[in-house]
């Protein structure tokens, strides 16, 4: 005999069941993810969250967070949400190799994006190949990553540090064709040495009668440059090249500007754009700066004319209080490239979720869009793109110096062709 109470309960349960079923099915009633898709796309993101290089890693991490949240808000990559697993890049290669293996084998990420330090990206690349994990290097500059080995699972979406030096040589000679003497103030490790060597070689190739009057080598992030500044002032070079970065660069500007180094000499700071917002009005006018060899910065292309740029610049500024700088842009380009590769692979596979190998195949030769323009991935897994370089000028609207007299350089002018080693290419520069 059916109890009226039981009937009501049964109806109630049934109703709830229907509602639940509808709610569960609803997301799937929208854009259906490709068949075989995982529940979420797990991405490892590795950058410096501590130590002096955190000045690069923090904008990178912020960009990754912002971009992934934006993607997820808009439905994810073809319906698949993205989950970021963030790892601190500090601690040296043995820690980074451990962390990479943990990301690959314990967290089981689908891909890893990141690596600012050249030592780390060189250490991690063989592990990526061994474990068959798609890895997209976003910043690290050593040319040895792509020039001295065959890569299958590893890609780099930004120019090498050779481009920073060659671009500078070209710009300086265009600005000041009668340069007679040059000097270098760099940190004594691979980054500083390679930057200076390439710059010196390019200058000597393009104008063989140039003389080097001083080569200064400091400790990494030395923080105390008065002796070096004295030496530069005494040597009186026409042009000074420096690949100082982060806190060390800010300190150098602080100590050198009052002593007149920038007034009397033409100084090139290859990572200069990154510190503009920190140095504010201490940055003298007329210093050659670049966001390394990146095709733009937060004012170029003009956000008013470029939708992606506008959205990104405003988004980052309002959320993190800082305009995006080159580590931020390189992170964006890396993530955007990865996404474009996935989407191309999905399309090429007729709509089903691709394997890592299929994504790799789709990535090679791919051209994708970032806020600064298009980038193309070459078959040697090195992407190349254009670059801007310019002079500082204090901008009252922002309270810090921005770039003027910007010159854009084409990728072929600043990066060697596939298969050619940078030093050999520089020896043939025109």
């Amino acid at each position: 005999m059916r109890h009226p109470q039981t009937l009501r309960v049964a109806w109630g349960v049934g109703l709830i069941g229907i509602v639940v079923a509808v709610l569960a099915l609803a997301p799937h009633l929208g854009a259906a993810p490709p068949s075989g898709a995982p529940a979420e796309l797990k991405l490892g993101f590795v950058d410096f969250l501590s130590g002096p290089a955190a000045t690069f890693g923090t904008p990178g991490k912020n960009t990754a967070e912002w971009l992934v949240e934006k993607w997820n808000r808009e439905g994810g990559i073809r319906g698949v949400k993205v989950k970021l697993v963030v790892v601190d890049e500090s601690g040296g290669p043995d820690k980074q190799v451990t962390e990479f293996r943990r990301l690959a084998l314990d967290e089981k990420v689908h891909a890893v994006v990141g690596y600012t330090s050249s030592a780390n990206c060189l250490a991690v690349a063989p592990v990526a190949e061994e474990l068959r994990v798609l890895t997209v290097i976003h910043v690290c500059g050593t040319r040895r990553l792509t020039e001295e080995r065959q890569l299958k699972y590893v890609f780099r979406t930004s120019n090498t540090q050779t481009a920073d030096s060659v671009m500078a040589a070209r710009y300086i000679l265009a600005m000041k064709p009668d340069v007679k003497t040059i000097a270098g103030a760099n940190e004594d490790y691979a980054w500083g040495r390679d930057s200076w060597d390439d710059f010196k070689a390019a200058m000597l190739r393009l104008k063989p009668d140039v003389k080097v009057v001083a080569e200064l080598w400091t400790k990494i992030q030395a923080g105390e440059y008065s002796a070096e500044i004295s030496r530069l002032l005494a040597a009186q070079p026409d042009v000074v090249h420096s690949s100082f970065w982060g806190g060390g660069l800010i300190t150098f500007v602080k100590q050198a500007a009052p002593r007149g180094l920038f007034k009397t000499r033409l100084v090139y700071l290859s990572t200069g754009e990154q510190v503009l917002q920190d140095v504010r009005k201490e940055m003298p006018d007329g210093v050659i700066v670049a966001p390394r060899a990146t095709p733009g910065y937060f004012l170029h292309p003009d956000p008013a004319t470029n939708r992606l740029q506008k959205e990104y610049v405003e988004g980052m500024k309002s959320r993190y209080g800082r305009y995006p700088d080159y580590p931020a842009y390189r992170t964006y380009n890396a993530l955007a490239g990865l996404r474009a590769a996935y989407e191309r692979a999905i399309d090429q596979g007729g709509g089903k979720w691709p394997t890592t190998e299929e994504v790799i195949k789709a990535f090679v030769g791919l051209t994708w869009e970032g806020p600064l323009g298009k980038l193309t991935m070459r078959e040697d897994h090195q992407a190349i793109h254009g670059a801007i370089i310019g002079l500082t000028k204090f901008n009252p609207q922002f309270g810090f110096a921005t770039m003027e007299r910007i010159r854009e350089l084409k990728p072929e002018e600043i990066m060697p062709p596939v298969g050619m080693k940078s030093p050999d290419w520089i020896a043939t520069l025109k």
Partner: protein
Amino acid sequence: MGGRRFAPAVGAALLVAAPLVIPDWMRFILALALAKFPAVLGVALFLRGGMVSFGHAMFYAVGAYAVGFSARWLGLRDVAALLPLGVVLGAAAAALVGLVMARYREVFFAMLNLAFSMMLYGALLKLYWVTGGTDGLAAGVPTFFGWAPPREFLRLVLYYATLATTGLAVWVVYRFLASPLGYFLRARGDNEIRIEYSGESVQRVIYVTYVLSGALGGAAGVLAAFVVGHIVPEYAFWVQSGEFVFIALLGGFESVPGPLVGAIAFEFIRAYASKYFPNEWQMVLGVIMLAIILFRPGGLWAIWEALRGRLGPRAGEVQHA
């Protein structure tokens, strides 16, 4: 018979069986811990003698760069050839530096060691056209007595090679500690004059220990170079030496297995601290260090011994069955 002999056998059996059951990335951590263990043993030996060395990263780097140079210039990546080479080079470096070091104690011992190690670091950093500078050298894929294991088993074979080397190192250290020199080393911490009265030269004791620890450091460097795959000047930095000292303290340096427990614990703690506290993992390590120092300076091994003591002789009998 009983608990005393049983535990090491169980421990060894666990280490042999572990890689076959635990997940891959944990196996890597275990391999890295085992690789660093001989260097930590070297540091622990000195700690037993009441001396701290903040410079043993020197020998670790020597061993690692032996692998790097050999891979780069000779194309030689054979573990069987490079291990003895690393041991010999580490011992040679220690023999050289030890001539100076053996005359110092206390803080001066620690500082002078640190200075030598930092000089090596500076040299490795600056001579970048030889050493690769901060970009470092790649170790490549190792071979074993000429045999190149198939890809899927490479990590496993490397693990067992590391384990075997570690076992050998443990045996050597046990023999050393059982020898008169070993006893004198322990005695040095108490009273040097008495050693001299017994007819032994304290300088000789320290020198021999130094050379032994250099050999151990070199072996560790070779193993770590292959396990990690990349060699950088930071292998000689004082923070690396500090890590060895910390591991010795964490595990408990008064025993031989103590540092091994410490090495394994350290690698796991570091991995999990990064996983759960990606922004504060250094502080987590610092806090753990503080806790050990303040509350259990005997390290993890002392905790284990206290537990075993608590269980009493009955436990031994039960295990016997």
